[in-house]
């Protein structure tokens, strides 16, 4: 008899969530991780001597409430929410901060537009209602259209409440807004470019589109649905960095009896007569299991772990059609002292504890995106900045800080040159851009560590540097994620499942794909 019922390939957060749920249900689970540490794209690493950073993902706020509860995450790790949700310094020295506290936010907005301040509560209410519908949709296993069965109706019951609360009239609104550009949606409510950018920019963090592109309203709403704070994005940090969160998920899985082996790359999933029978490790060892779950993205799963020439042509055609197109660069700075933002002079320093957005207008973000259409990096990038050491000083030597920046847009596929040469050039542009808002920062930098899209691919196993295992666009959503007909976490190989961000509902450290996959695996065992 095989030593394990289930092998999970990859100890990213979703792989760990799947492992935990399956172990909790009594399965003998083995998790195999290629790297020396678990966490995947949610890791804390000492990328600069003495400075630990959340290498890629840094937002803990998207983790599903259900997963937090079921896996007792909060008893294992400290999640530090910030009062500030977005600190938005402007080129003219002014600033707008969105606070968790709505009354405070309205006061801030009123400085830019009284009409926008008045529109804000209604906007939040409508978006939250729509977000609730999407939130319910995210926990569903998508149907195989057009063959909708009883199981889909049962799964769809969760939609009933949110849809009723949204109201008949506004269901029409939901269908209307999803395919819209985010900019158009925000312009229906707001007039100030500063306000629109403060609220809308972060929807572009996980997508290679600008806010004037169709379907970005969906991305905006998906963030809303997952942030769980009645706001458009997550805000806060994990004590110990994101790696502490995945360590907690790993502890939960181990607590239920799962075994996790790091430094153990899997070479192939072993298949006999269209059925998975185990895995072959890179060192040649073969391990048996009736169920194999891949936390890797679809391309890696089907093109590397499986033999793609044994899959149907229509399947591989759809596989090839999945858009990845990463366009983010991570720049980590180790700084001697806390950067001083000119826009904050005399203001509430708590504003810096949340995300800092360098995106003065959505037009600015759109222009930052435009270059990527032609394979160039933005010369005026949109920056999403976090200083985790304000809430969690232990990450850096005393009095010193980590500044982690997600810089957009910088395409994986460059028209000319390579990332080997562009890595530092673009990082210079990023630091230069930040210095326009925090003038003294350059002189305080002790170390800099840059992760280009190609680094995301080679080090973290994210094809084309897309952390979401495939773009989070409307055409790669729900029953179309990752492939129409295979959105139910199953694959053409019997016993082989997907549990990563490539499946519904996609990327972000939500744990929902992992949770949903475990549910389907257990349902098949019945």
């Amino acid at each position: 008899m095989a030593a394990h019922d289930v092998i999970v390939i990859g100890a990213g957060h979703n792989g760990l969530v799947t492992a935990a749920y399956l172990a909790k249900a009594g399965r003998r689970v083995l998790v195999l991780e290629r790297r020396e540490s678990i966490g995947g794209a949610a890791v804390t690493e000492e990328l600069m001597p003495g400075f630990r950073v959340s290498s890629l993902a840094d937002g803990p706020g998207y983790l599903s409430a259900r997963v937090r509860r079921d896996l007792k995450v909060e008893s294992r790790v400290e999640i530090l929410a910030s009062d500030s949700v977005a600190f938005c310094p402007q080129p003219d020295g002014s600033q707008l901060t969105i606070w968790r506290d709505q009354a405070r936010t309205i006061e801030e907005i009123a400085r830019f537009s009284r009409a926008d301040a008045e529109a804000y509560p209604g906007f939040v209410e409508l978006m939250s209602r729509i977000g609730d519908v999407l939130g319910a949709l995210m926990e569903m296993t998508p149907p195989d259209l057009p063959e909708v069965g009883m199981q889909d109706l049962r799964g769809g019951l969760g939609l009933f409440g949110p849809l009723r609360r949204l109201g008949r009239k506004r269901i029409g609104d939901l269908l209307r807004v999803l395919p819209m550009p985010a900019e158009d949606l925000l312009s229906e409510f707001f007039e100030s470019p500063v306000v629109k950018a403060a609220i809308g920019a972060s929807a572009m963090l996980g997508i290679s589109f600008g806010p004037r592109e169709a379907g970005t309203a969906y991305t905006f709403l998906a963030n809303w649905a997952q942030s769980g704070n009645g706001l458009f994005r997550s805000a806060g940090v994990v004590k110990g960095g994101m790696g502490a969160l995945t360590e907690a998920l790993g502890d939960a899985a181990r607590g239920f009896g799962a075994e996790i082996r790091t430094g153990t790359p899997v070479e192939k999933a072993l298949v006999r007569d269209d059925r998975v029978v185990g895995v072959k490790l890179a060192d040649g060892e073969e391990l048996e299991a009736r169920v194999v779950v891949s936390n890797a993205d679809p391309r890696t799963t089907f093109e590397q772990l499986l033999e793609p020439h044994t899959l149907d042509a229509s399947f591989t055609r759809n596989l090839r059609a999945i858009k990845y197109r990463g366009s983010s660069v991570r720049v980590h700075l180790a700084v001697r002292e806390l950067p001083e933002f000119s826009a904050l002079a005399g203001g509430d320093a708590a504003a810096l504890r949340g995300p800092i957005q360098i995106a003065p207008s959505l037009d600015y973000v759109q222009r930052a995106f435009d270059c990527t259409k032609y394979g160039r990096c933005s010369e005026n990038p949109y920056l999403d900045v976090l200083i985790p050491t304000l809430s969690d000083p232990d990450l850096a030597p005393e009095g010193q800080h980590v500044v982690s920046i997600t810089a957009r847009y910088a395409p994986y596929a460059l028209r000319s040159g390579s990332w080997a040469t562009h890595r530092d050039t673009f990082a210079d542009v990023v630091v230069g851009t930040l210095a326009e808002y925090a003038p003294g920062i350059r002189e305080t930098i002790l170390h800099r560590h840059v992760l280009a899209p190609t680094d995301l691919e080679s080090t973290y196993g994210l094809p084309e540097g897309n952390p979401n295992h495939g773009e989070m666009t409307l055409d790669q959503f729900f029953h179309m994620r990752p492939i129409p007909g295979y959105a139910r976490y199953r694959t053409p190989i019997s016993g082989m499942y997907l549990c990563g961000a490539g499946t519904h509902p996609g990327g972000g450290v939500t744990g929902i794909p992992g949770h949903n996959a475990a549910r389907e695996i257990l349902a098949d065992a019945k």
Partner: protein, 404 residues
């Protein structure tokens, strides 16, 4: 606007009535004289020379070339030896035929596939995860086909290849008329014959050398009308006549599997995975919708039908290719299939039809009825199910000592 082949300077002036048609974007002669029967008779008694340069040709190379071929075709490419040629179909996921053609193994890691409809994208797409390249070499290689009983003797005058020992559906690299060539003992006539592939700049030299010897071997340049007649006698299927590519129709009812087409012999269900394998396994178990067979029509009965109108018997002198209803009974109450192409065979003196029938009616010797419309009135002509090919001379496959 169709383009011309590398042989246009030769075939152009020969084509007396400018009777051209389009083949893969190139002008091709339907007949060189004003009637096709001389050309047909040359194929069966001397030889016919065809310009087949428009044939679509793809080179598949690389460490995984054999795996790519095996993923695509229904036959086992692993069993294809170097210098061997396979006639094969390739299917979609549902086991429905996309196209048919030949696959030649030119080296361990080099195959050449010929096709009727463009296949580059299909091959490239299916190379996913494989170390194999696909190149469209259609225009880098010109080709002539020499078909008929004297073809070997004529070609032997021009080449150093060991033709008597080149077996049916095998190919060899050789010098032909001073040019580097691949000689393939294949064709579309069901007769002794060869296809010769050369670089385009050598095509005219090759053609001229053959034409110079032509008179001594009763050779004539021949066009597609004569070829179409010969291919029906040989029981060889034609796309858009005997089947429709599954890639070119949206309707399941118009798609056919290799089993439907009478090509069960080529489907290797035991080999490595190929596209359509699952569906074909299921079909083999459950049975097919159709079976493609030959029909021989009773022309004496046909003659009587014409006599009712005071007319002499009319027989088709070239191949028709359209769906003609076939019935189990003369009263035409039970429809059992269709004729897909047919012709009067001059060499056999028989009216032969390729037909797709319900399998239970497709046993050899079974008597059925096929519609013949005379003066807009439908008649039922008795016909007998026969095995194909209709015409299968021993010289087609003869080799070694048998090939004098």
């Amino acid at each position: 606007m169709p383009r011309v082949t590398p042989l246009h300077s030769r075939v152009g002036p020969l084509c007396q009535g400018s009777r051209w048609e389009e083949w893969s974007g190139f002008l091709t002669a339907t007949m060189y004289e004003l009637d096709h029967l001389h050309e047909y008779n040359a194929i069966r008694t001397g030889c016919g020379l065809f310009d087949v340069s428009p044939l679509l040709k793809y080179d598949i190379r690389g460490r995984d070339a054999v795996t790519l071929m095996n993923r695509v075709i229904v036959r086992d490419a692993k069993k294809c030896r170097i210098g061997q040629v396979l006639y094969t179909t390739w299917c979609d996921d549902d086991g429905k035929v996309i196209d048919d053609g030949t696959v030649s193994r030119l080296a361990d890691d080099h195959f050449r596939l010929t096709a009727a409809v463009p296949a580059l994208h299909w091959l490239q797409h299916n190379a996913i995860g494989l170390e194999a390249t696909v190149e469209d070499v259609s225009e880098q290689i010109a080709a002539v086909s020499i078909q008929g009983p004297t073809s070997r003797d004529l070609l032997a005058k021009l080449t150093n290849a060991d033709l008597p020992n080149l077996r049916f559906f095998h190919c060899t690299q050789a010098d032909v008329a001073g040019a580097d060539a691949w000689i393939s003992r294949t064709g579309y006539t069901g007769d002794l014959g060869y296809e010769v592939f050369v670089e385009p700049q050598n095509a005219v030299k090759l053609w001229d050398a053959m034409m110079e010897l032509g008179d001594s071997y009763q050779m004539r340049p021949a066009g597609t009308v004569a070829l179409d007649l010969a291919r029906v006698e040989a029981g060889l299927l034609l796309i858009d006549a005997d089947f429709i590519s599954a890639a070119q129709t949206m309707f399941d009812v118009q798609k056919t599997s290799p089993y439907d087409l009478g090509l069960a012999w080529m489907v290797d269900l035991e080999k490595d995975f190929f596209i359509g394998q699952r569906a074909l396994r299921e079909e083999k178990e459950k049975g097919s919708r159709w079976l493609t067979v030959g029909l021989e029509l009773d022309v004496t009965v046909m003659e009587k039908f014409y006599a009712e109108w005071g007319m002499p018997l009319h027989l088709p002198d070239r191949t028709w290719a359209e769906a003609v209803p076939v019935f189990a009974d003369a009263a035409q109450t039970k429809h059992i299939g269709r004729g897909t192409s047919g012709t009067w065979s001059p060499v056999l003196k028989k009216y032969v039809v390729i037909a797709r029938l319900r399998p239970e009616h497709a046993k050899p010797g079974n008597k059925i009825f096929i519609e013949e419309v005379i003066e807009a009135v439908s008649y039922s002509v008795p016909a007998t199910v026969v095995k194909m090919p209709f015409f299968d001379p021993p010289r087609k496959k003869a080799w070694g000592a048998e090939a004098k």
